[in-house]
């Protein structure tokens, strides 16, 4: 178990801005915190070596350690209100689509005070049946339908209680009936409990509160599944009245209904709206998924914006995490003298160590000519993934899965949350990822299960420090701009730069990021795509939910899970999700190449193509021999062409003025063609046979003296430091960067 974990409220800041750091120190009494500038996060003794420099700041001192925990599980909280005092006799109802009815008790609509032992709860009981639990402080009774719910089927469920007769009834009605399957039913009983009692408590959906402290509701019994159209009335409604409430709030029932919550209002926010005059509005906690098809989705409409009423469901998960909401332990106000770069708060307590990385952007007017675009959107996509835990990983890797201590921790402590490469505990896809929790695989020194066989085995954040290290070693002045800043500020974030370099795997792009980069390129920006599988997935961020990124894995592509029909549109920005390739903006239009193959065992090398000998591009190969293998060495899988590869494809958008300079060869059969590249199954999709399993190094000119150079391989940057930076990968990169900084037309 890791004893030191932490996160920050911001992932980038400019001088003068303040970053808050939140630390869990579980065991050691104190820890030392310092701010360090990160140069190289690779601990491989065969590489350039781990490099960091201490930055003198007010942060440097010992801090008292304290344990901070994450309470995962999404829920809805409706604050307490005097309106609830009318609850004596009552009706509660909802539409549900449970995904784990067998997991044990799960709260659906619960209002109760654990301390007073009073209240009511519509729930799924330990036998997977709908039940109502009622407690008045003295006794508690639970009445169940006794009929087991089916997974992933819609039910109309509810209960009524008549305080005068103490008659309690509960029901579950399947919307679809199967002969011989008895999953519907009801139960009625006269109970001793007098009623839900006069308690002061919020109303909670999708969980069972265990403790209430001010605004905070600690809970257990988290519900997995969809909840739609929950209703609460202050008397026993008859069947026709309950039926009428399914689709809205008829005027005739306005006085009886305490609340009618409509989850189709505020999709993309944390707000919950009650359409009754009582306005018992509330909020979600830990982001249940919104924009989910409801019980009445007819399959004719696909976009929730066109008829939100068909998307009035939310999908709750017991492992949802948005904001860990830890207390702040220390702050850094970025000093004016701190130059732009990659930094981290380094925490140490005995043998325990943790880094909380962040980027510092330049002070306005102090920008350099080069920006390294730190792919933080892609880091968020891989945040705390559990890829190593799946049976298929070893096949995709062609070697054993190798776990770092962080992976071992994430494997066991599931409350640290999931990534969009995972599925939830109920098997549904993870479409929100948050950075407001410790992201344990976005760390220097971290080795990844996706980093190839032997060597440094780095991926994403730590792999990208190879590029930072090279920029430092070559003495190029550079700034670090994050994806998040590009999303926030658009073109303005990139305007000062002549050249922008990507990281090794800039895979995830929001429309705002895309437009910002594209506008900069149209103005003559010179762009170096230093990786592979870039510009692939379309994602959404929202100012309403800072720190969250959304992805809908729809249609095609290498997908960890498939988005369900009718759930292809993001909740955060309303945009259509999936691949940029299917959104009129193929990756090939950005870097000239697009994702074609992946494999995670050995990387390979490039050979020059005829285009590389044309005079216009001679500057790229200055000092590189005609028959040299390019990058047959390196720290990531042993070569510069590896992990994920992109090819030039004029039919998909590679510009007609593109020079294909070099292409990679000799990939193993672990490398296979991506699914969007073939329509019918046939043998021959592996690296030894399939001609599309390759990385194409390309160059092309763009408007206003702009240009693009693309390596098209994730492992390229892992070869830069070979032989003390004296190698053809480093040489080509340097040739291009130096020429790109020269404003002269090509």
């Amino acid at each position: 178990m890791l004893k030191l974990t932490g996160y920050s409220d911001r992932i980038y800041a400019r001088p003068g801005q303040t970053i808050e750091f939140k630390v869990n120190c579980d065991g050691p009494k104190t820890y030392q915190a310092d701010i360090v500038r990160l140069i190289c996060g690779d601990t491989n003794p065969d590489g350039p070596g781990f490099k960091e420099t201490l930055v003198r700041t007010d942060v440097s001192k010992r801090y008292k350690g304290r344990k901070q925990v994450i309470h995962a599980g999404s829920r809805v909280i409706i604050p307490d209100s005097e309106v609830f005092d009318r609850l004596d006799s009552f009706t509660v109802q909802a539409m549900i689509w449970p995904t784990t009815p067998d997991k044990g008790e799960q709260g659906l609509i619960v209002r109760g005070s654990p301390r007073a032992r009073a209240g009511f709860g519509l729930m799924i009981d330990a036998n997977g049946a709908i039940a109502l639990r009622l407690a008045d402080g003295k006794c508690m009774e639970t009445v169940s339908t006794g009929r087991k719910l089916l997974e992933r089927h819609w039910y109309f469920v509810g209960a009524t209680f008549d305080a005068k007769t103490r008659r309690l009834s509960v029901f579950q009605e399947p919307l679809e009936i199967f002969p011989g399957v008895r999953d519907g039913g009801s139960a009625r009983r006269t109970v001793k409990v007098r009623g839900p009692g006069a308690v002061r408590a919020p109303l909670v959906m999708a969980a069972m509160p265990t403790r209430i402290a001010g605004d905070q509701v600690f809970a257990t019994g988290h519900y997995n599944g969809k909840l739609d159209s929950p209703r609460l009335a202050d008397r026993v409604l008859d069947a026709a009245e309950m039926e009428a409430l399914k689709t809205g709030l008829p005027a005739s029932l306005e006085t009886a209904v305490l609340a009618a919550w409509d989850f189709s209002l505020g999709i993309g926010t944390e707000q919950i709206s009650d359409i009754s005059p009582n306005r018992l509005d509330g909020n979600t906690l830990h982001m249940p998924v919104r924009g989910m098809t409801g019980w009445n989705w007819d399959g004719e409409t696909m976009d929730w914006k066109s008829d939100p009423g068909q998307w009035s469901a939310m999908h709750f998960h017991d492992d949802d995490v948005y904001d860990a909401a830890w207390e702040t332990d220390f702050l850094l106000t970025v000093p004016a003298r701190m130059k732009s770069g990659l930094y981290a708060a380094r925490l140490r307590a005995g043998s325990h160590e943790e880094y909380i990385p962040f980027a510092v952007s330049p002070a306005p007017g102090k920008e350099k000519k080069i920006a390294f675009l730190l792919p933080t959107a892609s880091y968020m996509a891989y945040a705390n993934h559990h890829v190593g835990c799946t049976g298929a990983t070893e096949l995709q890797n062609g070697c054993l899965a190798v776990y770092s201590p962080q992976d071992v921790h994430l494997h066991q402590y599931r409350e640290y949350g999931l990534s969009p490469y995972d599925t939830h505990s109920d098997g549904s896809g993870v479409c929100y990822t948050s950075r407001l929790r410790p992201v344990l695989n976005m760390r220097p020194k971290y080795q990844s299960v996706l980093g190839g066989f032997k060597g440094s085995t780095l991926w994403q954040f730590n792999a990208d420090t190879h590029l930072v290290d090279w920029l430092e070693a070559m003495k190029f002045g550079y700034d670090v701009i994050t994806d998040e800043e590009l999303h926030d500020r658009g073109l303005e974030a990139l305007k000062p730069y002549r050249t922008v370099l990507t990281g090794s795997h800039p895979e995830y792009w929001s429309p705002e990021m895309w437009e910002g980069l594209d506008a900069w390129k149209r103005r003559g920006g010179r762009f170096m795509y230093m990786g592979g599988n870039g510009f692939y997935w379309k994602v959404a961020f929202s100012a309403e939910t800072p720190g969250i990124m959304e992805i809908r894995r729809c249609e095609t592509g290498i997908r960890a899970w498939p988005a369900e029909p009718g759930e292809f549109f993001n909740s955060q920005d309303g945009g259509y999700g999936g691949l940029w390739l299917r959104n009129a903006h193929p990756p090939q239009t950005v870097g000239g190449t697009g994702f074609s193959a992946q494999g995670f065992d050995l990387s390979s090398y490039y050979v020059r193509k005829p285009d590389s000998f044309r005079p216009k591009v001679s500057f790229i190969f200055k000092g590189v021999g005609k028959n040299e293998r390019i990058g047959d060495f390196g720290l990531i899988g042993g070569g510069a062409a590896g992990l994920e590869l992109d090819r030039a494809a004029p039919e998909l958008g590679t510009p007609p003025n593109t020079y294909v300079l070099a292409t990679s060869v000799d990939h193993t059969d672990v490398y296979m063609l991506v699914p969007e590249e073939f329509l019918e199954t046939a043998p021959g999709l592996g690296g030894q046979e399939c001609p599309q399993v390759r990385a194409d190094m390309v160059f092309f000119e763009t408007l206003n003296n702009g240009a693009v150079f693309s390596t098209s391989s994730i492992s390229w940057c892992g070869s830069l430091a070979h032989n003390n930076y004296r190698n053809n990968v480093s040489r080509i990169t340097k040739n291009v960067l130096k020429r790109f900084l020269d404003p002269k037309p090509f």
Binding site: A392, E394, L395, A401, V402, Q412, T668, D669
Partner: protein, 101 residues
């Protein structure tokens, strides 16, 4: 998805190929055997856990259940190819009953 292939006596020559090249270019025959042996479900599956970065790796066994820790065995490797060969032999025995010397 797990392979439905069953190892045949004709697959024995691939043992030597695996010993020489546990990771990298393989013959179609060895690929077929490895799709079976490496593609098993997570429950009971072998993984390596870094003991000392770039130096030592310990064999771990996955429980296949969320939240259940990886069981660490006593077997430690200082070479990743050696670990591949060890796990190959272990799985070969599980599927065929035959011990590879």
């Amino acid at each position: 998805m797990p392979s439905s292939y069953k190892i045949q006596p004709e697959d024995r020559p691939f043992i030597e190929e695996m010993r020489k090249t546990p990771v990298g270019h393989h013959s179609p025959g060895l690929n077929r055997v490895l799709t079976l042996l490496r593609g098993e479900p997570t429950e009971g599956k072998e993984v390596l856990v870094i003991e000392e970065p770039h130096k030592k790796w310990r064999l771990g066994i996955c429980a296949g259940e969320r939240g259940t820790p990886i069981r660490l065995t006593k077997k430690v490797f200082d070479d990743l190819e050696e670990a591949e060969w060890y796990v190959f032999k272990r799985r070969w025995k599980k599927h065929t009953g035959e011990t590879i010397r």
